[in-house]
């Protein structure tokens, strides 16, 4: 028997559905990463899942992102496309991302520190965005990814626009 694994992409995805029996469809906060990223501006961090302070953000990767950093570890998974992450070890991490501040923060200007290297991610690849490092993404073609982090200044919530109601 031959199996075919169905993966979604920005160009080709099918969205599922909710069959309500006795409930409110809003409780399921149902969206689709490819649909959200497909309609977003490059590098917008749109929350598609939220559990108290924690979020999963859907991101449309296109071009070069600003430099960002975080006071805690974050993770990114590319679900479609090809994204390179550039890393810089910050000389003064607390100045860029204060320990009291959660979620992703923008780094003002060029990050000060040593270049750590790069990671090229394709579909299904996951990378660590370690605390203490600044990072930016480069995507030469439109790509989609999700980021595991805490709700921060850059997180956008558009539930009414992205979810079944």
């Amino acid at each position: 028997m031959t199996f075919h694994t169905t993966l979604g992409s920005l160009d080709r995805y099918e969205k599922g559905h909710i069959e309500i029996i006795n409930d409110n469809p809003k409780y399921y906060v149902f969206s689709n990463v490819f649909e959200v990223a497909g309609k977003s501006k490059p590098w917008e961090k749109i929350a598609v899942a939220k559990n108290l302070e924690y979020v999963i953000e859907a991101i449309r990767a296109e071009g070069t992102s600003p430099w960002m950093a975080c006071a805690h570890d974050e993770f990114v998974v590319v679900l479609d496309g090809d994204v390179t992450v550039e890393y810089v070890k910050l000389d003064d991490p607390a100045a860029a991302a204060p320990p009291s501040k959660e979620g992703t923060v923008l780094v003002k200007g060029e990050p000060k520190g040593k270049r750590m290297g790069t990671i090229r991610l394709k579909r299904g690849h996951q990378a660590l965005l370690p605390k203490g490092a600044a990072y930016r993404f480069v995507a030469n073609k439109v790509s989609a990814m999700i980021q595991q982090t805490v709700k921060g200044d850059l997180t956008l919530e558009k539930w009414g626009q992205i979810c079944y109601q």
Binding site: Y13, E14, I20, I56, H125
Partner: protein, 330 residues
């Protein structure tokens, strides 16, 4: 004390031992498991298919009683009190409970865990893997007792501190450590990310192919952590056939469907009354509210990212009504 012999159960049936835990008894025969408990001066009973019981018990053991309720079916299950655990019969079955025939008994978790492991060890025949899909393990669960399969039920439990593959953390999966590509994921790319670390940063830059990792999972419906962001845990898993338990949430959890599709039956956690069916396809994201129970159906082995919030006091906060059972208002 109601040990099996005292309530009329033989020590063995079809070669399988009978067991008791508190006031519960557990017996299996060639096809079925029968559970009994006391209610209104009599003993009530419940029957499950042996393979379904073993699959459910396997998850409960592997997950340390998991978050909230692990309903083996509409009658029997466990509720995790985190350090202690309730075994229940009929407590979350509206008819049984309303008629005063349900029963709940609380145990120290290690005691209940030891008994469940004992049952698994005796009742799992050679050739039956409770973690595998039916198409992989066949009908070996049935018939008279036929050996055992300790290797399947005592698999190494993956405990990830930050991300698999980092130094000192859980291992990645490959042919060399006993994780071949599953037959259903033969078409999944095995290419790894290109990591180009500057000298001195080799151990700080880290990436891996999550899809490759999942394509080599040797178990179904068994989440394992692949990234830790404070109390936020990504727990992806591969799913085929039916989730062997009906999970009753004690907090909101989220699903991100990474490949293929799963249909979820969602019902009320307390009564079991149906509330919705949710079909998730690749790229879909959905919450499972804190007051529901759910069971999934995956016709082809699929990749599911289960997202958990492991904040310790969450169940109490939901119970006290401090938190709404749904995650977002809009």
């Amino acid at each position: 004390m109601n040990a099996p012999a005292e309530i009329g159960l033989p020590d063995k049936i079809a070669g399988y031992k009978t067991f008791s835990l508190g006031e519960f008894t557990f017996a299996r025969d060639e096809y079925f498991v029968t559970i009994t408990w006391p209610a209104k001066g009599q003993r009530m009973s419940h029957t499950m298919s042996a393979d379904a019981f073993l699959r459910a018990t396997m998850r409960d053991v592997a997950w340390g009683f998991f978050y909230g309720l692990v309903n083996f079916d509409a009658v029997f299950g466990t509720r995790n009190l985190y350090g202690r655990v309730e075994l229940f019969a009929g407590r979350y079955n509206e008819a049984i409970h309303k008629n005063g025939l349900s029963y709940v008994e609380t145990f120290d978790s290690p005691k209940a865990m030891a008994k469940f492991k004992e049952i698994l060890a005796d009742w799992t025949n050679a050739g039956f893997d409770p973690f595998a899909a039916p198409a992989e393990t066949g009908n070996a669960a049935f018939g008279e007792k036929n050996g055992s399969n300790l290797a399947a039920i005592e698999r190494f439990r993956v405990a990830t501190k930050r991300m698999p593959g980092l130094e000192g953390d859980s291992p990645l999966r490959g042919d060399d450590n006993g994780f071949p590509i599953n037959r259903a994921f033969a078409d999944v790319s095995q290419e790894e990310p290109q990591v180009k670390a500057e000298p001195g940063f080799e151990k700080e830059l880290h990436a891996f192919s999550l899809f490759k990792y999942l394509s080599r999972s040797d178990v179904t419906w068994n989440p394992s952590v692949t990234s830790v962001c404070k109390a936020s845990l990504f727990c992806p898993t591969t799913e085929e056939y039916i989730l062997p338990i009906i999970h009753g949430n004690d907090r909101v959890e989220w699903f991100v469907q990474l490949s293929d599709q799963i249909m979820w039956d969602v019902s009320d956690r307390e009564t079991g009354r149906p509330r919705a069916r949710v079909l998730m396809k690749a790229g879909d994201v959905a919450a499972m509210p804190a007051d529901i129970r759910h069971q999934g159906y995956s016709k082809k082995r699929s990749m599911l990212l289960v997202w958990e919030n492991a904040t310790p006091d969450l169940p109490k906060r939901y119970e006290r009504g401090e938190l709404k059972p749904w995650p977002v208002d809009f």
